[in-house]
Symmetry: C3
Subunit: 153 residues, 3 copies
């Protein structure tokens, strides 16, 4: 049954997009994800929200990417924090453990200095194991233009 469905699917797709030779028809049952054949991958994650759910999801997403069997051991990552996202780096906050788990996997933890000025936050209020960049947005742009992927959960 599944095989017939696959054939019918391929046939219908051929009819609908087949006229454009360049669009490959992909059989959903046979697609298991893009193949990671490069030696090294790089990604920058953007966090600009103080919403606890977004903060936790962002860190979990990064960990999932680092643990993806296709990328494990070959993914360089940076977490760029600006705006409300600065909450993740507050000493008084609850995120130290997850941040250190990411850092132990080589993740760069970068806080936007513009945000500190705008919100009158001193570096003393933040964890001492993080890094600072002139602007979070500049960092996101430069990284992408250096060939890094970008994810904003």
């Amino acid at each position: 049954m599944k095989k017939i469905a696959s054939v019918l699917f391929a046939a219908s797709l051929l009819i609908s997009v087949g006229v454009h030779a360049q669009i490959k028809a992909v059989n959903p049952a046979e697609f298991h994800g893009a193949v990671a054949d490069k030696k090294l991958y790089k990604v920058v994650y953007q966090l600009n929200s103080d919403d606890d759910k977004v903060i936790k999801a962002t860190m979990k997403n990064m960990m999932n990417a680092l643990e993806d069997p296709r990328l494990k051991g070959k993914l360089e990552a940076e977490l760029v924090v600006h705006g409300g996202g600065v909450a993740v780096f507050k000493k008084e906050g609850p995120y130290e453990e997850q941040l250190k788990a990411l850092q132990a996997k080589g993740v760069i933890l970068a806080e936007c200095e513009n945000t500190l000025r705008e919100r009158k936050i001193t570096k003393d209020e933040l964890f001492d194991f993080i890094s600072f960049v002139p602007s979070g947005n500049g960092e996101l742009i430069i990284r992408q233009q250096q060939g890094w992927a970008m994810v904003h959960p």
Copy 2:
């Protein structure tokens, strides 16, 4: 009047950014969008929300891109779903028709297997015409590093 405004605009822009020879001054009345001179375009869309408005907007955005006169017939697309976004693939949900319309245009529909484990969702609960990838975040990263564009509506 419009012509005078254009000239004034160009002149003022020349004064303000003209010192940096590399930044091109663009006349807004003469700009009608980037030119698509490549034979083939590729894009991955990220959906990680169960908000009905976000889900519908994401699918509509994809359709708009596929129908953009500049890209029509030469855009390969993949919808990567993770986190709360899994709602779009639930059999009991209301999105079958729009998903099939996208698939008929060659769109790959990919669900994150990490999400299924974390949320204890079985593949039986999801449409049988979709694909599965080890992690949605890994997929988003690999695709971008393969040269695909990425949009997160």
Copy 3:
């Protein structure tokens, strides 16, 4: 004390990720952001929300990137507006000053024509100093495939 911490950090990182020779260990105290050694940078910003906070944050983010000491004078930028984001371009709205400040720095201000059709908005309702593109999503894709970075605040 700080020096000892740095050495300990580097050592611990070496143990945890050092087995993967390709992942560089970065000392957080010594990292001050990616280096911008290119002559010209390009970025497209996406705005698809009518939330006043998101609209203002998007424009502020763009300005921060344009003023980042690493990018100042060598960043070409475009603001692509679609969906609810059209609020930023409404003549009756409060955003004229910030838009003109961005435009004075060479920023292209682009509205999605699909959105106008779907929402029955006429060009008369919008500022006369903006540009129009066939679809916002198409624009975001073409720009990225031309090598532009993309930020969606």
